[in-house]
């Protein structure tokens, strides 16, 4: 840190000591700027841990996809691609509305902020709704791993005349569906957490918080929300789009 930055910091310090500092500046920070940076950096580090958290699941997925490719293909082909694509679009749009929310709070536009947050909540709920439908389908099709897992409707991807997949291979579809539920479930959990936080933010925003120059909470929640979006961006092709076409 060279001398004039030290000087600069001194300016801040002096300013700080001369008094006016906003209510949201916590006591142990010197300047609003420092606090803003610290908080966003902390948020990024948290997302770092999230990456590694999902990393383990992706690792397992890659391994078993390579071992039981046929089972994975036929299992993935039983997933509703329409619903999956819709959900992807929904989540991307919610990401957009969240970004707009950040913009509005920077523009100190309370109404815009509340609208964007509400829209994000709505889209998030739509996503979860569609997920519930998908889960329910899996339940009715007995595709939930465990005791009453049925391997009937797994067709061999290789040939057109839908001959059933050999039982020993079809059994491994269980692993696919376990990973499917584990990954999407973990993702849905993050969505639920995000949405419940969003309600809180919406309430605060209605009282005019975040549109008074103190945007960092909205910013950092935005980071979280976009991260959840990114996870889905990868889950979608990995789970829904394994060769929708006959293999050979």
């Amino acid at each position: 840190m060279d001398s004039q930055t030290v000087a600069a910091r001194h300016q801040d310090e002096i300013a700080h000591h001369e008094g006016e500092h906003p209510y949201y500046l916590r006591h142990h920070f010197e300047t609003v700027e420092q606090q803003k940076e610290a908080v966003s950096f902390g948020m990024w580090l948290f997302l770092l841990t999230e990456i590694m958290f999902f990393g383990g699941l992706f690792m397992a997925y890659l391994l078993y996809r390579n071992w039981y490719y046929d089972a994975f293909v036929s299992a993935s082909n039983t997933l509703g691609i329409g619903l999956g694509t819709t959900n992807t679009a929904v989540l991307i749009v919610s990401s957009f509305t969240m970004a707009m929310g950040v913009y509005c709070s920077e523009m100190r536009n309370r109404r815009g902020l509340m609208l964007s947050l509400a829209a994000t909540i709505l889209l998030g709920l739509v996503f979860l709704g569609i997920k519930t439908i998908e889960y329910h389908d899996k339940y009715t099709e007995h595709h939930i791993p465990g005791a009453n897992f049925s391997i009937e409707d797994f067709v061999h991807p290789a040939d057109k005349r839908d001959t059933a997949l050999a039982p020993d291979m079809a059994q491994h579809a269980q692993i696919f569906f376990f990973l499917y539920f584990a990954m999407t479930g973990m993702h849905a959990l993050h969505m639920v957490i995000g949405i419940s936080i969003l309600f809180g933010l919406l309430y605060q925003a209605s009282k005019g918080a975040y549109t008074n120059g103190h945007t960092s909470i909205i910013d950092n929640f935005g980071l979280y929300w976009h991260f959840v979006d990114i996870v889905w961006i990868f889950l979608f092709p990995l789970l829904y789009l394994i060769s929708r076409h006959p293999l050979h």
């Binding site: 391994l63 390579n66 071992w67 039981y68 490719y69 046929d70 997949l165 050999a166 039982p167 020993d168 291979m169 491994h172």
Partner: protein, 378 residues
């Protein structure tokens, strides 16, 4: 001493009689292992003495009474480089030496006699090709390369013979191998070193290394009357394998005669070597082992055949390329090139040779997985 403390006296006697720093060197590899061990000890000793001398010496020379004024020293790139490069060089030597030893221990020679080991909570079962079954014991001849093909029925176990300096994890659902050549007759410890549940410490046994004659006597004395291959044959018939693997033209399944050790082409075009792991895998997961040109109609025998049964089948199929099982008469339980050759089972001999090359634990995976990755899925 023993006047006032007999207990302590006994303790000292015990100490003097039973104290040992090294387990017996009872295998061909043991001396090499110990040599490496001494080298590592030497390095450690040098390092320790060096650090000790520096710390002790400086503490005495520069203690406050002696040297009230500390002298500021920033550091020295030369020294840093020295104690970066010298340890690195030494560690590299250790790495190379260790790697050589590792491959020596885990690559069996081509013509080792093969014994099957099945680990389960909490016992070791040894299956000799001649049909001798042992529990928590393993009889082997000295001066003969012995390869163990091991598998676990439940959890991870680890087959460890300290006197031979060999150890190998026994993995559920996958064959692993280790080999040794005993040099001294005697009885040695067999431990399970991988924690495997309540009676882990009771999963021990003894390795009995015997002179070739005693070993032959033992094989005759303790045979169950049925060689593994003969058990396998009965199982083969009772499971009705013949209905497809009849060996006739137009049979629904591939002909198994002479398949062992040969290169087979899988559906999807990959060619793999049909070794023990492949045979086992094809019985349990036919689809992942489906051979080109045959419809994937074989049912899985997952859960229907025990590990011992699988071993019997594998052993039977191995033998299939010679219609005679002359080499499996009761008094000759185990194969060696000479004997197999003598019985004129030349093709069988070929497959024997391959056991060495193909039964490597890490060679198995490609035989049994799609995309050529990973071990054989059960």
């Amino acid at each position: 001493m023993h006047f006032f403390s007999p207990v302590l006296w006994q303790f000292l006697v015990k100490w003097l009689t039973e104290f040992a720093l090294f387990p017996p060197e009872a295998s061909a590899i043991a001396p090499y292992m110990d040599a490496f061990y001494f080298f590592l000890l030497l390095i450690s000793l040098v390092g320790l003495v060096l650090v000790g001398l520096m710390v002790a010496g400086f503490s005495i020379m520069f203690r406050k009474e002696k040297n009230p004024q500390a002298t500021h020293i920033e550091g020295s790139t030369l020294l840093e480089a020295t104690w970066t490069i010298i340890p690195l060089a030494l560690f590299m030597v250790c790495f190379v030496w260790g790697a050589l030893l590792y491959f020596r221990i885990y690559n069996p020679p081509t013509n080792a006699m093969n014994i099957y080991i099945v680990g389960k909570q909490w016992m070791w079962k040894a299956e000799h090709p001649g049909g001798q079954h042992e529990i928590n014991a393993l009889h082997i001849p000295v001066d003969r390369d012995v390869q163990l093909t091991m598998i676990s029925q439940d959890v991870f176990h680890s087959f460890s013979i300290p006197a031979f300096r060999v150890k190998r994890e026994v993995i559920p659902g996958r064959y692993s191998t280790v080999w040794f050549r005993a040099t001294q007759p005697g009885t040695y410890h067999l431990f399970c070193t991988q924690y495997c549940g309540t009676l882990h410490s009771a999963m021990i046994g003894e390795i009995v290394a015997m002179s070739p004659d005693d070993y032959r006597k033992w094989t005759v004395g303790s045979t169950s009357g049925q060689s593994l291959a003969q058990n396998g044959e009965r199982l083969y018939a009772s499971l009705g394998c013949n209905s497809c693997h009849s060996g006739t033209a137009g049979a629904r399944g591939p002909n198994l005669a002479g398949i062992y050790g040969s290169k087979v082409t899988l559906e999807g075009g990959r060619t793999v070597t049909a070794d023990d792991e492949f045979l086992r895998g094809s019985i349990l997961n036919p689809t992942t082992h489906a051979m080109a040109g045959y419809a994937p109609i074989m049912p899985t025998y997952q859960g229907q055949v025990s590990e011992e049964g699988l071993i019997d089948l594998v052993e039977y199929i191995k033998g299939l390329d010679t219609n005679d099982r002359v080499h499996q008469t009761l008094n000759d339980s185990n194969f060696s090139p000479s004997q197999a050759g003598a019985t004129g089972a030349a093709p069988n001999y070929r497959s024997r040779q391959l056991t060495g090359a193909d039964q490597m634990p890490d060679a198995k995976p490609d035989t049994s997985t799609s995309k050529g990755m990973g071990p054989s899925p059960q």
